[in-house]
Symmetry: C2
Subunit: 307 residues, 2 copies
């Protein structure tokens, strides 16, 4: 099953000619989830070949404009595009008020329901739970109430070992029972333990989005063992004082969070417009956490299946 | 003095990968005025080399998202960029409420004043008046209250004929008086009529922005003699029934408005996303009004000085 993250935008608040503010798409087996929605997100979706109608839910970290000003035009366009099914939006308060206000002034004729689910930014809670995915909130430390999001794939179902099927002459009914995790009793009365018959095809994977935030040991602990970690790095270690004053992280802090989380891979973004190139920021991370990369606009990061 | 219009965006509500919704910049002698502000306008300004801090005022035609969703992120960015002088926004109600709401949720620390001036969309009124320019509202016919805008350059000051200066041996004081329109009395008592000494360097120019609107003979009359007319053409003449139902114009109606207004030149835009190419729409206009062009994204239309 595919599990990937595509970066639609990655700049912090001040726009540049060709970089967009924060927005990403998590794609788990062709189920699409939007994470933050900076200005221009609907155009960025189309440019990356993602039909906005396919979005199942939207997760907004906090109510600074560079993380949500693209949501409102997107909602309007989905109406024009003929959306009829509800759109779930997970976001801190007062997103409910903000959506109400847009309904009043801009969306009097929206042909589908926009359902806001309040995210309490001080709590680590299960927000969404479907057949393949759980999404959890991660409390972050920013100037306004902010949540990160942990996307946890559900453990994929058991596979039955082909050689064992042959060896024991298992019937279809027995194979189905083994896939459910049951032990199997053969015709001769012998019971075969489920562990002998089955294996997990690959380990459940996870992705964590931690932005915007100052360094938080707690947030890092809550995403322990994550496969792919996006952590904001608005500033270089050289600008640590600025970062502290604004509730943002440096490269060093992002790398420290990746270490603390025992993440397999770190991707960094939300760069201040003061940095013309991001290679140096990446190098600052790599000195501490070698498997660090730039979450470049347009890049897709696959999380591979592993046994 | 330069007088030009730069097209920042030109598509109707549904976004396409590379076309932006309505936004233009009127530039009169390096004084910049933003006309409508669809999503992405701040990035479009930067791409065209226009520093958003240089905008003196914003004119919003109506409160559909594709004409104003870019305004709110732009206002936020101007704060980050250090703007301290007020920004004047001319727009129909309820823009005041919408700005208040943004102040409450997004702009608690905006370091400059956003001044809303209500535009009554049923009235033809002088909205703005400075040393070089008047801006007038033009009532339009759309699904919601909508105003067009007429940018009227003020008649440029008189120039004094060099040959006459020599002929009559005019002093600096006499030249200044002649520029003010006064007759000049020479040392020998002879009075020289101002008309003999001075000339108008060029005729005052004008630009009209009529979008979104169904055909309006009244609006066309109110911009009579305009040098450059932008008129929306959301639809081809083949889709006239759709245009009628939605309060939009066809190519034919835009061309008819240009004829009625005795415009010197017509530029068309706000095309429905159903048209992959706009050349045919232009040809439909040219059959009726030959001096028609596409208001292509990124294009700048100069209004030349004429004697």
């Amino acid at each position: 099953m595919g599990f990937s993250v595509t970066i639609l935008g990655n700049s912090s608040a001040k726009p540049t000619p060709h970089a967009h503010p924060s927005a990403q798409v998590v794609n788990l087996n062709e189920q699409y989830y939007l994470v933050d929605a900076g200005e221009g997100v609907q155009q960025q979706l189309i440019r990356r070949g993602i039909n906005p109608l396919r979005l199942r839910a939207v997760f907004i970290s906090h109510l600074h404009g560079d993380h949500c000003f693209g949501l409102f035009p997107l909602i309007a366009t989905l109406g024009l595009e003929g959306k009829r099914t509800p759109l779930d939006i997970y976001a801190p308060a007062p997103m409910g008020d903000i959506l109400d206000y847009h309904r009043r002034y801009f969306w009097d004729d929206l042909p589908y329901e926009v359902k806001w689910h309040e995210v309490r930014t001080t709590e680590h809670r299960l927000l969404m739970d479907n057949s393949t995915l759980e999404v959890w909130s991660i409390p972050l430390r920013h100037r306004v109430p902010t949540a990160g999001y942990l996307f946890k794939e559900k453990q994929p179902g058991l596979n039955v070992n082909k050689f064992k099927i042959e060896k024991y002459g298992l019937s279809i009914a027995q194979i189905v029972a083994a896939k459910r995790g049951e032990d199997i009793t053969l015709n001769d009365g012998t019971t075969i333990a489920n562990e002998e018959l089955t294996y997990t095809p690959y380990k459940a994977r996870s992705y964590a989005y931690l932005s915007d935030t100052a360094y938080s040991a707690k947030a890092a602990s809550l995403v322990k063992g994550v496969d792919l970690l996006y952590h904001e790095t608005t500033y270089s270690i050289k600008d640590a004082a600025v970062a502290r004053g604004r509730g943002h992280s440096t490269t060093e802090e992002a790398a420290k969070a990746a270490l603390k989380a025992e993440a397999k891979r770190l991707i960094i973004g939300h760069f201040s417009s003061r940095y013309k190139s991001h290679e140096e920021l990446r190098e600052e991370c790599r000195r501490i956490f070698p498997n660090s990369d730039i979450a470049a606009e347009g890049a897709t990061f696959n999380i591979e299946e592993e046994q």
